[in-house]
């Protein structure tokens, strides 16, 4: 068996004495979609921010393809091919799509000046794939619709050959057509061998797209299961009660039998 694409082992992080994430272990194989589920405040976003370099874990380790990875900043994470689409999208509203997509990784000319034309060209190509109707390349992102902004955030994540993609509530702000589009994209990326962590509230989405689910409650892992082995009701039981079904691998946060 090959090593997982990414493995987080025994991750803990506390803010002001409150353990937001407590001894959580999750893993992700190439071409796999793992959904992270849990109530608001269960610690999903915090866990994922440890992987994306926004937070530093107090304890635990991260392995990328079996090798210990030191991730202290978002830049480190990107070096390992870990890209994140944040729930807030994390776009600079005052600059255009190309500037956002290349933020921190700008293309420059021989003289060290920004190569806006080359960046716009690349942006047009990647957006043609994601959102063929997108035309507003010169406008600040502020002027775009929710779906268009989402496309820009996704384009930023996938343009740089990500191997591991983190999607934090990617469809929360989208209409049904755009949600379906994101679903298509997830399948496409999966086929390319990219591993995806999907954070979602929508259990239907999760059963459509994810191969496995990991459920968190109060900062602890309830358990991990293959979506084909469990029912939606069982997963809801994990989220609400912390009750781990038999088909799932129990985590430290599971309710005592």
């Amino acid at each position: 068996m090959t090593a997982p694409l990414v493995e987080m082992r025994g991750i803990s992080i506390a803010f002001g004495g409150i353990k937001a994430v407590d001894d959580v272990s999750v893993d992700l194989m190439p071409g796999e979609v793992v959904a992270l589920l849990g109530h608001n405040g269960a610690g999903k976003s915090t866990l994922i921010k440890v992987l994306s370099g926004a937070y530093r874990a107090d304890a635990g380790e991260i392995l990328v393809e079996g090798q210990r990875a030191e991730i202290a900043t978002p830049r480190d994470a990107k070096r390992y091919g870990i890209e994140t689409i944040y729930q807030t999208l994390a776009l600079a509203d005052n600059v255009d799509a190309a500037a956002n997509i290349f933020l921190g990784r700008e293309l420059v000319t021989r003289w060290g000046m920004l190569d806006d034309a080359a960046m716009e060209s690349a942006t047009r190509q990647v957006m043609a794939r994601l959102n063929p109707h997108f035309r507003r390349f010169k406008e600040p992102v502020r002027a775009l619709s929710g779906g268009q902004r989402q496309s820009v955030a996704i384009a930023r994540a996938i343009h740089f050959n990500a191997r591991i993609l983190i999607m934090d509530e990617p469809t929360a702000a989208l209409g049904p057509a755009e949600t379906a589009q994101v679903g298509e994209l997830v399948k496409q990326l999966k086929a390319q061998g990219i591993g995806i962590f999907l954070i979602s509230h929508d259990i239907h989405d999760v059963f459509d797209l994810a191969d496995r689910v990991s459920v968190m409650k109060n900062g602890r892992l309830v358990g991990t299961a293959r979506t084909r082995d469990v029912t939606k009701d069982e997963v809801l039981g994990m989220i609400i009660l912390g009750k781990c079904p038999e088909a799932a691998v129990r985590g430290p946060g599971a309710m005592a039998e």
């Binding site: 926004a54 600079a92 933020l103 921190g104 920004l114």
Partner: protein, 413 residues
């Protein structure tokens, strides 16, 4: 208008400036729009305009720098002492290197002060308002300590050229050469950018629109130089210069034009360099991204703290340069130099369209803002308005301009 793709706010500001100029000219009976007044106006604007370029970046990152006037005062004193007391002892009076060393000391000292304040803001997380408010008091006090309040004068002869005046203007021929170079640069840059967009198959302005913009740009350059060349140096000085060069004094007198003033050239070069920095470099892109969404910039891997510190370092270095210009112009270093300049600089940036909410602003706008402020002030002096009333008017205009800008911005949303 639509084809030109010019920033409507820039056009609005130019319109406002035209109204102010023509208005003062009418009120003063034709005394405002004279080569002499416009030339002096340009020289008076230089120091604030240089600092306004840096303030744009500071405000774009959602910060403020209240210390620039005090930094100008302190650096001015040090620069004065260095060239009037230290360097003459070490190198001899009027040594050719004195001016260069003095300017280098000024820029380096200003930059160091800026970096220090910037590191407190970026790494210790102290609000910039507080750090630079403290800086305002500290550096104003330090300016007094340098000489226990004594004024230092006179300055080195070459250094004085930085302040304008008769020795600080480059003359007619050099001005025209500079104008030709500037026009060539405008045309070359516009052609290059257009070619680049065409190479990628992007939409471009129609050719006639590019032509109109090029023409306007060159016209402004040529007009400015023509005005500067219409302002002759005083008869007495001209006669002495003629005698020194053995030229007989003609009966009708000699018309020796000033040409562009050196401080104005310095300010324009700073403006061009800062525009390139703000719009064409990674650093500039990061500055704007931080202003738009600091968290997003951080998550994108931008070293936001370092960028922030550099912005304040740059602001300090420009305040150091302005200190040289102001000291040279006054031909003396006084510890009160630059008093209230922080407010003029901030006002210039804000009138020039820099949003205090961060993320928006242009260097060109801020320089125009500085020119608007100075025009108001200089126009009122010409009309004999007394100082308290001048301040009242400038204050009201500032508030009105920001309200107008905000109202306009809401309408386009």
């Amino acid at each position: 208008m639509r084809h030109l793709e010019v920033d409507p706010r820039l056009v609005g500001m130019l319109g406002a400036l035209a109204v102010i100029w023509v208005g003062f000219d009418l009120l003063s009976g034709g005394a405002f729009l004279t080569p002499r007044n416009l030339w002096n106006l340009s020289v008076q604007t230089a120091s604030v305009a240089v600092m306004a370029c840096g303030m744009v970046l500071v405000i774009v990152t959602r910060n403020i720098d209240l210390s620039v006037g005090a930094v100008l005062g302190f650096v001015g004193m040090v620069v004065g002492v260095v060239q009037a007391r230290w360097l003459p002892e070490m190198l001899g009076l009027e040594h050719p290197a004195t001016a260069f060393i003095a300017v280098a000391v000024g820029i380096a000292l200003g930059g160091a002060i800026g970096l220090m304040q910037g590191s407190l803001i970026a790494y210790l997380g102290i609000p910039s308002f507080i750090v630079t408010l403290g800086g305002l008091l500290v550096w104003r006090g330090a300016a007094w300590w340098v000489t226990q309040g004594q004024t230092v004068a006179p300055m080195d002869g070459r250094f004085r050229m930085l302040g304008g005046g008769i020795e600080g203007a480059i003359g007619a021929t050099a001005s025209w050469v500079l104008a030709a170079l500037a026009c060539a640069a405008i045309v070359a840059v516009m052609v290059m950018l257009r070619r680049r967009r065409l190479a990628f198959g992007f939409p471009v302005r129609p050719a006639w629109a590019e032509g109109v913009l090029m023409g306007l740009g060159c016209l402004v350059v040529i007009g400015a130089v023509a005005v500067a060349n219409l302002y002759p140096i005083p008869v007495g000085v001209a006669r002495r210069m003629a005698e020194a060069q053995g030229i007989p004094w003609p009966p009708g007198g000699l018309f020796i034009p000033h040409g562009l003033a050196i401080p104005v050239i310095v300010a324009l070069l700073v403006g061009v360099a800062m525009t390139v920095l703000a719009t064409r470099t990674r650093f500039g892109r990061y500055v704007f991204a931080i202003g738009g969404n600091p968290e997003a910039a951080e998550l994108s891997g931008v070293n936001t703290r370092r960028s922030l510190m550099m912005v304040f370092g740059l602001m300090g270095a420009l305040a150091g340069l302005s200190a040289c210009i102001a000291t040279a112009r006054l031909n003396a270093a006084t510890n009160a130099a630059g008093t209230l300049d922080e407010l003029y600089v901030i006002a210039a940036a804000v009138i020039g369209g820099t949003s205090l909410a961060g993320g928006m602003g242009t260097v060109a706008g801020a320089m125009l803002g500085a020119l608007v402020m100075q025009s108001l002030q200089s126009g009122m002096v010409l009309l004999g308005v007394d100082t308290p009333l001048q301040n009242i008017v400038v204050g009201l205009v500032l508030v009105f301009a920001v309200w107008l800008d905000g109202a306009w911005r809401k309408r386009i949303r």
